[in-house]
């Protein structure tokens, strides 16, 4: 199974549109395709594909909870916590501050009395939709207010890869969130090929530079998808492509028909664009 990612630092440049068009193109070639929406903060592929999310499975993360019966109030837990998430005053029970806790486990590993237990918290959900023969959509969705979404992406991708192995898929297409921090890095890891989607504006050019720098660091071969290719000014995009030894391999023209197809969940008929 080949893993292909559609990414881009800037939002709204067409990452999801390209990922879905690519999926349809492969389906036309009689391939088995899994599309995995790793934009767990704002997943949209299911909307663009007119789906209602199905087969929900919770994604857990573990956080500490104190067993007061076992705690001897030694305060070691607050000393090992580098996130300053444990507040302790001599002679008192330690207090956990959930907003600062990363769930790293330092406290429960080092408590000499086994007084810190792990509490499973639902931080997100993953969904599987079988859209039609040979086409599945996996969607990740974080619980609102969850700050660190990288671990959710990791779990969602795991479910996609497991399904891919089970059904013997040809392609796993990963649709990442915008940006370049941990949730995007988790989505990109282990891709065989990355498409960086951008648009021919100074914003698109700057952001393309950021994503190409990131994929270079991650050692992932990356090609460029230029959306709205006939608008704006592509000179800067071409310069950045040269600088990073990449190339523009797909061009999608600005098209009102494409916008309508995006809004109404009819992208399949636009597959000719790529």
């Amino acid at each position: 199974m080949q893993i292909i990612a559609s990414t881009g630092v800037k939002g709204g440049v067409g990452k999801s549109t390209f990922a879905i068009l690519l999926a349809f193109k492969m389906l036309k070639q009689k391939k088995k395709v899994i599309l995995c929406d790793c934009d767990v903060e704002c997943p949209n592929d299911y909307l663009i594909l007119n789906q209602k999310l199905k087969n929900s499975k919770p994604v857990f993360q573990e956080f500490p909870v104190l067993n007061e019966k076992k705690c001897k109030k030694c305060g070691l837990c607050s000393k090992v916590c580098r996130n300053h998430a444990i507040f302790w005053v001599k002679g008192e029970y330690p207090k956990f501050i959930p907003d600062l806790c990363a769930g790293c486990g330092a406290c429960w590993i080092f408590c000499p009395y086994g007084a810190i237990e792990k509490r499973k918290v639902v931080v997100g959900k993953s969904f599987v939709n079988e859209i039609r023969d040979n086409f599945w959509l996996i969607t990740g969705k974080s619980e609102a207010g969850v700050s660190e979404t990288g671990p959710i992406v990791k779990e969602v991708k795991k479910r996609a890869i497991e399904l891919g192995k089970k059904v013997n898929a040809d392609y796993l297409i990963i649709d990442t969130a915008p940006g370049a921090h941990c949730n995007v890095i988790q989505a990109l890891l282990n891709s065989d090929k990355v498409y960086a989607v951008t648009e021919p504006t100074p914003l698109g050019a700057y952001d393309l530079g950021v994503i190409l720098e990131l994929t270079k660091k991650l050692n992932l071969p990356t090609e460029i998808v230029l959306n709205k290719a006939n608008l704006g000014n592509r000179k800067e995009i071409e310069e950045i492509a040269r600088k990073f030894n990449s190339k523009i391999s797909v061009e999608i023209p600005y098209s009102e028909e494409l916008i309508r197809a995006y809004c109404t969940g009819n992208l399949e008929k636009m597959v000719k664009l790529i």
Partner: protein, 290 residues
């Protein structure tokens, strides 16, 4: 007064609207603008800035470093690492993948030989500019592959406090995760911008959950309303008294950014629409203050 512009979905016009509101406010108030999108800092471009006057490197992230001379290869660190950042190479050498390491320090604590140290890393920078329009722009950058974006946003907002202002305007990144929460938290008012697509509307609901969680008063703006008038009307109705106005889709907006010209200096019809949103917004603010 702290105002944040957020959307959930990317590319719906946050930075465009932020730049326009900053220019309009700056005519009558002392303001500071702050680009909280440290992955894709683009607000400067909307204000015609391509180079930065002052750059301060900062460190809001820590990583584990291994001393190969002291390591005996017991692999205890690998067993406890919560992010899977520790790999054992074929020759048995321990390698820490800094792309995954979050610097929690559990490995350092379990290492029987004291071979692991946690050190601060320079993960980003803060940049300060005085714009042509006489207000400061504070922006930041997270270096590619580093972590700690939310903490850089917090640093930016602290920097903004060093300036005397009546209005601070924050341009949030896309999403609803850590840097967005850092951008939105502590704001007095949120302007939520969306586009009339099923994705735009769904993401508006996502960001609303965050804004409501912090109990921040808000208003809603629809951008590119005419790409889907039916859904636009639905969102407008749904927004009720929170609706601040709508902006048309105009290719002249793209010409502006290509030529690094502020949107308010354009002859596009969106200028009048933004002026109306600005007036509505000021009325809402007055009511909020009362």
């Amino acid at each position: 007064m702290k105002i944040v512009i957020a959307s959930g979905k990317g590319g719906v016009g946050k930075s465009m609207l932020t730049s326009a509101l900053a220019l309009l406010f700056s005519k009558e108030k002392k303001i500071v603008a702050c680009d909280c999108d440290v992955d894709a800092p683009n607000l400067g471009l909307w204000l015609g800035i391509t180079e930065y006057d002052i750059i301060e490197k900062i460190s809001t992230s820590e990583k584990a470093f291994i001393d190969k001379k002291k390591c005996v290869g017991c692999e205890k660190c690998k067993e406890v690492c919560p992010t899977g950042a520790i790999e054992i190479k074929e020759n048995g050498e321990v390698k820490i993948n800094h792309l995954l390491c979050e610097g929690c320090g559990v490995c350092q604590l379990v290492c029987p030989k004291g071979a692991i140290k946690i050190k601060a890393v320079k993960n980003g920078e803060i940049r300060i500019n005085t714009t042509k329009y006489n207000f400061p722009l504070i922006s930041g950058k997270l270096y590619p592959g580093e972590s700690g974006s939310g903490k850089i946003v917090e640093e930016l907002k602290r920097k903004a406090e060093e300036f005397k202002y009546e209005i601070a305007i924050f341009d949030s990144p896309a999403g609803i995760g850590c840097p967005v929460i850092a951008s939105v938290r502590g704001s007095d008012f949120a302007i939520l911008i969306t586009e009339p697509t099923p994705s735009g509307f769904s993401d508006l609901n996502r960001i609303l959950e965050i804004v409501n969680h912090f109990q921040i008063p808000y208003g809603i703006v629809i951008n590119k309303w005419d790409i889907n008038p039916m859904l636009s009307r639905k969102i407008e109705k749904w927004s009720k008294e929170k609706f601040l106005g709508k902006i048309s889709y105009d290719k002249k907006v793209i010409d502006c950014i290509v030529n690094l010209k502020p949107i308010t200096k354009s002859d596009s019809k969106v200028v009048n629409e933004i002026n109306r949103i600005f007036d509505n917004f000021r009325d809402v603010l007055e009511k909020e203050i009362k």
